[in-house]
C-alpha cells in the first residue's frame, strides 16, 4: 500500500473508501508533487478524516491504490484530529516524542539528549508554547494542545505531513501563523502537506490545490488548482 520510488510525494489512483456500508467517494485519482500543500475540504462526515487515515495506513480502502514517496514511517508525520498526546507528560516530552522513531529505545529510556531537547524547545518557542515546556499537557488549553501536536510533527521533520483539522481550536491569527509555518516547510524544505481545512480563506491563502469532497458532484470529489 505504501510504496517508495515514485516521482510524486503522494499518488492516488482509483481510490474508493467505504465507511459504515456507505461509499464516501469513488474513483479518486490525483498526484501531489514534493513541496506542495493540498487542502482537503468538504462538509462534516463526508470522509476527509477517512481519506487521511487511509493515506496514513490506518484505514483500508475499498478499491484503488495509493502510493507515498517514502515507506519509512518516520518520514510520514500525522497531526491527528484528537491530537493523541500523552496528557500526563510535559509539553516538551510530548514534542520530543516526535523523534522516538529515530532514537534507539535505550537512548530514550531515562531522558532525551540535551541537544534534542534544545531543538524541540526552539520549535515550541516558534509556535508560542515555549513557556509551557514543563507543564503537563492535561493542564494546558485545547489550542495549546493543538500547537503541541503541530510542534511534535515539526520536530519529527517528516517529508510528508498529514494534518487533520490542525487549526480547529485556534483563533484566526494563530491558525494563519500555524498554516504559514506548514506552508514555509513546503516552500523551503520541500515537504508535502495534506491538510483537512474548513476555512475557505485559509485554503485560498495557503494551499496549492484544493481537494473538495462533496456528495453532490460526480464520484463525490473534485480537484481545484489554486496556484
Amino acid at each position: 500500500m505504501i510504496e517508495a520510488a515514485i516521482k510524486n510525494a503522494v499518488e492516488v489512483d482509483g481510490l474508493e473508501i467505504v465507511r459504515g456500508g456507505r461509499s464516501m467517494f469513488t474513483e479518486m485519482s490525483w498526484e501531489l508533487p514534493d513541496g506542495k500543500f493540498l487542502a482537503v475540504t468538504g462538509p462534516s462526515g463526508i470522509g476527509k478524516s477517512s481519506l487521511l487515515a487511509c493515506l496514513g495506513g490506518r484505514l483500508r480502502q475499498h478499491h484503488g491504490t495509493f502510493r507515498l514517496s517514502t515507506a519509512d514511517p518516520r518520514q510520514v508525520g500525522v497531526i491527528f484530529q484528537n491530537l493523541r498526546l500523552s496528557r500526563n507528560l510535559s509539553v516538551l516530552i510530548n514534542v520530543l516524542c516526535g523523534q522516538l522513531g529515530s532514537q534507539p529505545w535505550w537512548r530514550t529510556l531515562f531522558s532525551f539528549p540535551a541537544a534534542e531537547r534544545q531543538r524541540a524547545f526552539e520549535i515550541m518557542c516558534e509556535l508560542g508554547i515555549g513557556e509551557l515546556a514543563n507543564k503537563p499537557v492535561r493542564k494546558i488549553s485545547g489550542g495549546e494542545q493543538q500547537r503541541t501536536a503541530i510542534a511534535r510533527v515539526l520536530y519529527q521533520s517528516p517529508s510528508i505531513i498529514f494534518a487533520d483539522e490542525p487549526t480547529s481550536n485556534l483563533d484566526a491569527g494563530l491558525s494563519a501563523k500555524m498554516l504559514g509555518i506548514l506552508r514555509n516547510q513546503c516552500d523551503t524544505e520541500g515537504k508535502t502537506a495534506v491538510c483537512v481545512l474548513h476555512d475557505a480563506e485559509l485554503v485560498e491563502e495557503f494551499a496549492d490545490v484544493e481537494l473538495r469532497l462533496d456528495s453532490r458532484v460526480e464520484h463525490g470529489w473534485s480537484l481545484r488548482k489554486i496556484r
Binding site: 514511517p73 500525522v78 491527528f80 516530552i93 516524542c97 522516538l100 529505545w105 529510556l109
Partner: protein, 259 residues
C-alpha cells in the same frame, strides 16, 4: 391498560435481595453456640478488663517491633510494585497475546487465592522465622493484587496515544513508555500506596506465624497472658493504622486529583 410482566418487575436488584435472603436462612446454623449456658456479656467484660490499663512500660520494645513491621511492609511493597509491572503487561488483553493473558492471569489468581498469613507461613518454612520471611510472604501476596490492579489500569487506557507514536516510527518499548505508562502512572501510584497501607496492617499479624514484626510480640504476650501489654501493642497498631489511613487517603486523593 398493559401490565408489566413478572419478568420486567423482577429486576436484578430484587433478585439479589431474594438470593441474599435465601443465603441468610441457609446460614442460620452458624449462629449455634457451644450449647452451654454461658453469660457472654460477663465473659466479655472479664476478658476486656484484663486489657486495662495498658502497660506502657513496654513502649520502647513495641516501637522497635513497630519499626520492623513498617520495614517489612515497605520492602514487600517495593519488590511487589516492580515485579507486578511486567506481569501486568503480560496480563493485559490490549498489550500481550491472548495465551499470555490467560497464563499470567491464572498465576495472579492462584497467588491471590492464598491469604498473606499462608504466604508468610510458607516463607517461614523456607527461610526460617525472621523478618525476611515476612518480606517474602507479603511480596508474593502483593504481587497477586498489584498485578491485577495494574493490569486493569492498562486495559482502561486510550490505545490511540501509543498507536500514534507507533505510526511515527516509535518501537514497542518507546510507545509503551511514552504512550501507555504515563496514562496509568497516577493509578499505579495510588494502588502502590494502598498496598503499602494494606501490607503494614498485614505485617502486624504475620508475626503470629514467626515472620517478624509486631505480630511476634502480640503472640508472645498472648501466650504468657500479658493482656495489659497486649493492649499496649494494639494501641500502637491503632495509632499507626489510623495515621496511615488519613495520610494515605490525603495522598491518594492528591495523586488522582492531579491527574
Amino acid at each position: 391498560m398493559p401490565r408489566l410482566s413478572w419478568r420486567e418487575r423482577f429486576t436484578a436488584f430484587r433478585a439479589t435481595l431474594l438470593l441474599f435472603a435465601i443465603a441468610v436462612i441457609i446460614s442460620l446454623p452458624a449462629m449455634t453456640g457451644s450449647g452451654r449456658d454461658l453469660n457472654y456479656w460477663e465473659n466479655f467484660m472479664r476478658f476486656a478488663g484484663k486489657f486495662f490499663p495498658p502497660d506502657l512500660s513496654v513502649t520502647p520494645t513495641v516501637l522497635v517491633a513497630l519499626g520492623e513491621t513498617i520495614q517489612i511492609a515497605v520492602m514487600a511493597t517495593f519488590f511487589a510494585a516492580i515485579i507486578a509491572l511486567p506481569l501486568a503487561v503480560a496480563g493485559s488483553q490490549n498489550i500481550a497475546p491472548r495465551w499470555m493473558n490467560l497464563v499470567t492471569r491464572m498465576i495472579l489468581n492462584v497467588i491471590r487465592t492464598l491469604p498473606s498469613l499462608i504466604w508468610a507461613l510458607l516463607a517461614v518454612a523456607v527461610v526460617g522465622p525472621n523478618p525476611l520471611a515476612g518480606v517474602i510472604g507479603l511480596t508474593f501476596y502483593s504481587i497477586g493484587y498489584l498485578g491485577k490492579f495494574y493490569s486493569d489500569a492498562f486495559e482502561s487506557i486510550d490505545a490511540e496515544v501509543s498507536d500514534g507514536l507507533r505510526a511515527s516510527g516509535a518501537n514497542a518499548v518507546q510507545s509503551f513508555q511514552y504512550g501507555m505508562l504515563p496514562q496509568v502512572k497516577p493509578l499505579i501510584l495510588s494502588h502502590v500506596l494502598w498496598m503499602l497501607e494494606y501490607n503494614i496492617r498485614s505485617a502486624a499479624i504475620i508475626g503470629y506465624v514467626g515472620a517478624g514484626g509486631i505480630g511476634l510480640l502480640l503472640h508472645t504476650y498472648q501466650e504468657f497472658g500479658h493482656w495489659d501489654r497486649f493492649s499496649t501493642v494494639l494501641l500502637f497498631i491503632l495509632i499507626l493504622v489510623t495515621t496511615l489511613d488519613l495520610f494515605g487517603e490525603w495522598l491518594r486523593g492528591k495523586i488522582l486529583r492531579d491527574d
